[in-house]
């Protein structure tokens, strides 16, 4: 049985990823395949996945849109009459058969031409790119803060899980895991903006305004990371190599921070990769709560106003970034952890 304390997704990922290494039965002393081949294989597989995802999503969007409503009617708005509808259909090629429209649509998507925003006729992809830096600022601050806080705390919790204080903190972490980020955000506003008036609650106005959104975004994932690291560390502390190191006279701190944590981090591979996906979903809500002018807020407003070119451009961007992040983690860990490399060509 997989270790379910890791949380279903973490456990799942390790189980599947570890499969080839285990079934290959190689112990590292056999002749290994050059690492470049492993990297190339990972890249190829991820690119294929990305392609499937992008085609899947755009096809789904295209047909659902055509099936559930008349896009021309959306474009014309409530005041549009029959004549305008015809004109719009002709202008956007909607008078042609569905399959032809689909072909035209796909050929435009391939060259990343999503058309113009229906709201203000700006280039959809340009609008998305404009928002990217602000979103990235938030995501990077939150991710760094999260890891800087969660890894030490997780290691501390996992090193002696039976002590009373740590049990108490672990309970706190468990409760924190049950609090969705949007509630954390609202509570933070209530405390620091409404009651204490220390921090601004809206927009991007310099470092002081970064604190609450970054805390909110980090709170989406910190409890999960802490729990996984803590479970992995407490497992690693029981391993034979720790006993050997202790017999060799290593102090407790060296054991924990140099030996156990290192191994625990390898176990958390999968988690850190999937965290990027969580970060992006989390940033959508965070950006809406704090009126942060980023990609997530753009996505929500364009979904609300049915501005599909922008929605599509934003979804493509998010998909591409998620896959870049996952592929990067894959490759980094190929270099760090030899067990992940395929031995057979």
């Amino acid at each position: 049985m997989t270790d379910v304390t890791k949380g279903p997704d973490g456990a799942a990922e390790t189980a599947v990823e570890a499969q080839p290494a285990v079934s290959g039965g190689a112990r590292g002393d056999e002749e290994t395949v050059p690492i470049a081949l492993n990297v190339a294989r990972t890249l190829g597989r991820r690119l294929l996945e990305l392609l499937v995802l992008l085609i899947g999503i755009s096809t789904l969007l295209f047909f659902l849109l055509r099936l559930t409503g008349d896009p021309a009617a959306v474009l014309a708005g409530e005041t549009g009459d029959q004549e305008q509808l015809e004109l719009i259909r002709k202008q956007y090629g909607m008078d042609k058969p569905l399959i032809v429209q689909y072909g035209v649509f796909l050929s435009q998507v391939v060259v990343l031409d999503f058309g113009r925003s229906l709201a203000n006729a700006q280039d959809a992809l340009g609008l998305v790119f404009e928002r990217l830096p602000t979103s990235f600022t938030l995501v990077i601050i939150a991710f760094t803060a999260n890891l800087a806080f969660s890894i030490p705390l997780g290691a501390w919790l996992g090193s002696r899980p039976d002590r009373q204080t740590r049990k108490l903190v672990a309970t706190g972490v468990f409760i924190a895991q049950g609090i969705p980020g949007y509630i954390t955000g609202l509570v933070l506003i209530q405390i620091f903006a409404v009651e204490l008036r220390w921090l601004p609650s809206i927009g991007n106005q310099g470092p002081a305004s970064w604190i609450m959104p970054a805390l909110t975004l980090a709170s989406f994932q910190a409890p999960h990371v802490i729990r996984v690291i803590s479970a992995n560390v407490s497992e690693a502390m029981r391993e034979d190599f720790i006993r050997t190191a202790r017999a060799n006279g290593a102090g407790f701190n060296t054991l924990l921070w140099r030996h156990a944590l290192k191994n625990a981090m390898l176990g958390a591979t999968a988690l850190i990769g999937t965290q990027v996906a969580f970060l992006l979903s989390g940033s959508i809500i965070t950006e809406v709560i704090f009126a942060w002018p980023g990609l997530g807020r753009l996505l929500v407003t364009s979904v609300q106003t049915l501005d599909f070119p922008v929605v599509q451009a934003a979804v493509f961007c998010i998909a591409i970034f998620v896959f870049i992040a996952i592929t990067a983690t894959d490759i980094v860990f190929l270099f760090i952890d030899p067990r992940l490399r395929r031995q057979r060509a």
């Binding site: 049985m1 379910v4 279903p8 209530q190 979903s281 959508i284 929500v300 609300q304 998620v322």
Partner: protein
């Protein structure tokens, strides 16, 4: 929950007397969750829909007595009683999340088992589909789908059920493959038992605890996503008493009426925590049983 009771009867190897299921976490989670279910039943049977109507003379009143009677949790910006409103949100939030979990657990289990059984292109396709869609943020897909197919109870339920199954499929696939390599499966194959019988009669019981753990965990996740969608104004219809809608309303009144935020927030957090407790508790019990078998 039958699994938990089975665990109790089988786990006689421990001498300590236990109350309930043998896992404190599971006990606590089940107690909180049953209270929520009882509230849901009471809401459905005894609370008239007129209780959700507002009375504008008692807008934004804190918990306590008002000219319009007693309000346990206070009133909102339209003078609606927040106690009845949070109760009215139960069918929305729990209903959508629960049904979506049923859908995604069924699809995920089926796909995972099928992927584990075949060793040809079907497995490759299943694995590719899983790893493609598992990485993509649920919320983004849900936002886009809801925007296209519309709001309301069923569209959201179906959307959530359809997008989240790869998480289940991936775990079931890994566990299913492990079980398919056991001797008793080989024996069943040699006896000529059909593929579906092997999967559903011989493999499925082995992965039931895992399905339960994942279902409880994902129930909580779906609850959070459903509320997030409503919070963003893209979930339940605007007047529906969904918890996400209530949170979204509260944003404008944080200064004058903070209870408007704390009431739905408390509801969401207690439901999510009870489900997480159940998920962790079942995992703990199945680990204990596995260890007992090894000994």
């Amino acid at each position: 929950m039958t699994d938990a009771t089975a665990a109790k009867s089988q786990a006689g190897f421990k001498e300590k007397r236990r109350i309930g299921t043998g896992s404190t976490q599971l006990n606590l989670g089940l107690v909180i969750f049953s209270m929520i279910i009882i509230a849901l039943i009471i809401q459905g049977l005894f609370i008239p829909s007129s209780a959700l109507d507002g009375e504008l003379t008692v807008r934004l009143k804190p918990p306590g007595m008002t000219s319009n009677g007693f309000h346990l949790f206070g009133t909102d910006q339209l003078g609606r009683d927040l106690f009845f409103r949070v109760m009215g949100g139960l069918p929305w939030s729990l209903g959508i999340a629960g049904l979506a979990t049923c859908i995604l657990a069924t699809i995920g289990t089926l796909v995972g088992l099928v992927g584990a059984w075949y060793e040809n292109f079907i497995r490759t396709t299943v694995l590719l589909t899983i790893s493609t869609f598992i990485a993509f943020p649920f919320l983004v897909l849900a936002l886009v789908m809801v925007a296209v197919i519309g709001r309301g109870f069923w569209p959201i339920t179906l959307t959530l059920g359809i997008i989240a199954w790869p998480v289940v499929a991936r775990v079931i696939y890994a566990e299913g493959r492990g079980i398919l390599q056991r001797e008793y499966v080989l024996a069943a194959k040699l006896f000529g038992v059909s593929k579906w019988s092997i999967l559903f009669v011989h493999v499925l019981p082995g992965i039931r605890p895992t399905i339960l753990v994942m279902a409880a965990f994902l129930f909580a996740v779906m609850l959070i996503i459903e509320s997030a969608l409503s919070f963003l104004g893209l979930g339940a219809p605007l007047n529906a008493p969904s918890w996400g809608n209530m949170l979204s309303d509260s944003r404008q009144y944080l200064i004058n009426a903070p209870w408007m935020m704390f009431v739905p927030a408390g509801a969401i957090v207690s439901a999510v925590i009870s489900l997480n407790l159940i998920s962790d508790g079942v995992a703990e019990i199945s680990r204990m049983r596995a260890r007992a078998v090894e000994i």
